[in-house]
Amino acid sequence: MYTQALNIKDMAAAAEDSAFDARFQSRVDAEEKIEPNDWMPDAYRRTLVRQIAQHAHSEIVGMLPEGNWITRAPSLKRKAALLAKVQDEGGHGAYLYAAAETLGVSREDLVEQLLDGKQKYSSIFNYPTLSWADIGIIGWLVDGAAIMNQIPLCRCSYGPYARAMIRICKEESFHQRQGYEIMVTLCRDGTPEQKAMAQDALNRWWWPVLMMFGPSDKDSQHTDKSMRWKIKRFTNDDLRQKFIDATVPQGQYLGLTFPDPAMKHNDRTGHWEHGEIDWSEFKRVVAGDGPCNRQRMKQRRDANENGAWVREAALAFAQKRRARAEAAARIAAE
């Protein structure tokens, strides 16, 4: 997007110049937006590419667990909503790949890096959707956690990323509300079996959802720099806490029990405290050994390979049509 050539020219010449670095930081400190052709430190660019690409991959891979239930949605209304939601997630992936491309990388490269295992997607999408209640849980909690994470990103220092996030956040609110509506239907209006199904889904998803915010602050490698660059505004633990505080009352309204015996309200701080998160599970899933990692990657790889002939044919067809139109124009001119 825009004129990537400029980025490349500037980078080599100015890489060592710490005066550029200082000016860059003062612009960030003044809450100025950094735009694609502006000078930026190499590490800032790399951090953004990594983060935006991972975000884009997550939107795309995130279509798989929910797509699993489209044909089995319990009513036409639910099916239409789920289809629209999954389509939105595809759109989010598209906005984000476009934002990443402003940094001088190509979408095809990023997809290849995902398929080669060099880039990651959110660990949450490596869990299976076993029942219809999982679709309610994903909207309510997975999208809910994503919103918590994404709202501060709307103020990210990098312009194209911030603008993509504003668009995405507007759409996410529907995702969370449709999920919570499913939960209300199952828990408040449903049969005991339906409520049990909802409780089972919460039991399986609660801890993986808390892990979505990433490692605890004391173990997080990227936080300091990202905060200084205003890519990140809150730490992982801060966001996790905000999410829990917002979510617990919603779960209580549903009459569900959170699968955390240590969870309790601290009347002094006003926060809900949670028990120890099993970080060994998180590490295992991120490293590729979650319940569905291999299946998800295979689905992405198949989609990419099976779509190759379509992409090539579309290009060839466009070229042929262009050539024909040019020839016709030449003859008309003669």
Partner: protein, 95 residues
């Protein structure tokens, strides 16, 4: 992978009558027709616009941010281009 990448297009949307088209992002497409279709699917799923423009990204020429001062700074000193530079007597009222 030997396949060629699809070209990039910039997308502009007119959100309401009377407003200018505004840049919203980009899409990949093999030709203008597909770029319009993709832009519609990606950027206007909720009535965001009344009209779409797509432009090949390679056709956009941008000013270099490094030239910002050279390009735009000279106008800062030309305060006589603004209405407030000129005095109108109070008795005349608003002008």
């Amino acid at each position: 992978m030997t396949e060629k990448n699809w070209p990039l297009w910039e997308v502009f949307i007119r959100s309401r009558t009377g407003l200018a088209h505004r840049h919203v992002g980009s899409v990949h497409a093999v030709d203008a027709e597909m770029a319009l279709q993709n832009a519609r699917d990606v950027y206007t799923r909720r009535g965001e616009g009344l009209s779409l423009w797509v432009v090949p990204s390679s056709a956009i020429v941008a000013s270099d941010p490094a030239d910002k001062d050279l390009m735009f700074e000279p106008t800062a000193s030309k305060i006589y281009r603004h209405p407030t530079f000129y005095d109108v007597p109070d008795e005349v009222g608003h002008m």
